[in-house]
Amino acid sequence: MMDALDRAIINALQNGFPICAQPYEAVAQQLGTTEQELLVRLGKLLEAGTLSRFGPMYHAERLGGALSLAALKVPPQDYERVAEQVNALPEVAHNYERNHALNMWFVLATETATAQADAVDKIERETGCTVYNMPKLAEYFVELKLRV
């Protein structure tokens, strides 16, 4: 079970982390704990899966990569086959079943825009489903901010 210090660590580290020689020491001081305790707690929170990751979040598009959200309207009888075909592509990062006529939603992550178009073509050819490709036109906010 999480205690007050675990919660304080999760809340504090969602907001950012310093770049300096001993950053854990700096954060530990703010939280009223020790560097060693913070490192142990953080390791346990990651190991338990309470935190899914800790570190720099890179911005794919600014690295020249392309990200898109795409959806398919898959006939129920074909769903497992299509899921297998879509998941097999390394360009597909996440894939979710959702409760809608557009019932399969996935993120395409490629190093270039051309590779994204190729992936869309390949999925249409292999699955026989139309890809509703929805690359973002503008981003208004991206940040997790869950209070615990």
């Binding site: 001993q22 720099p56 600014r62 690295l63």
Partner: protein, 166 residues
């Protein structure tokens, strides 16, 4: 607002730092020194390069990412909205500022099948909480919104991190 940006130039050393840190920052007292050792440059260079990438938005932030499910946020709704094009930037920004919204994007419609152009991810302990959050967004959008839906994920089919090849 953050429009889709032009790629910023990174060099081979930046790329090596990215590859060394994209799975996470080392859990040791001097993590940037550990990265420096791995990349084969001075710790000061790792820190100044990471600061530069942070300043340029190549690194969005250095932070912990909580697992929704593990923290009790079991209802994760993708709320989608049909918003008047003329007002989408102004309203998208305001929706993105709401405490319950973690991601907010303007995306293209695919008429006639898909009329929604604003996507906002919200997270609640149950669907009732998600519906209340959607209601909050609906009130903010007012008559600029012609319709909305909440899509829930019913199954994770695949989940891998975004990775840059080494």
């Amino acid at each position: 607002m953050n429009t889709v940006a032009e790629p910023t130039v990174i060099d081979a050393v930046d790329r090596a730092i990215i590859v060394a840190t994209q799975k996470g920052l080392p859990l040791v007292a001097r993590p940037y020194h550990a990265v420096a050792e791995q990349v084969g440059i001075a710790a000061e260079d790792v820190m100044s390069r990471m600061q530069r990438m942070l300043d340029h938005g190549i690194i969005r932030r250095i932070a912990a990412v909580p697992n929704h499910y593990a923290l009790g946020y079991k209802a994760n709704g993708m709320t989608v909205w049909d918003v008047a094009d003329a007002r989408i930037d102004e309203l998208g920004r305001r929706v993105g500022e709401l405490e319950c919204v973690s991601h907010c994007y303007h995306r293209p419609r695919h008429l006639p099948d898909w009329s929604y152009n604003l996507f906002a991810m919200v997270h609640g302990h149950d669907r009732t909480e998600v519906e209340a959050q959607a209601q909050q967004i609906a009130e903010l959008l007012g008559d600029a919104c012609r319709g909305h839906e909440i899509l829930y994920s019913t199954r994770i089919l695949k989940k891998t991190g975004l990775r840059l090849g080494g």
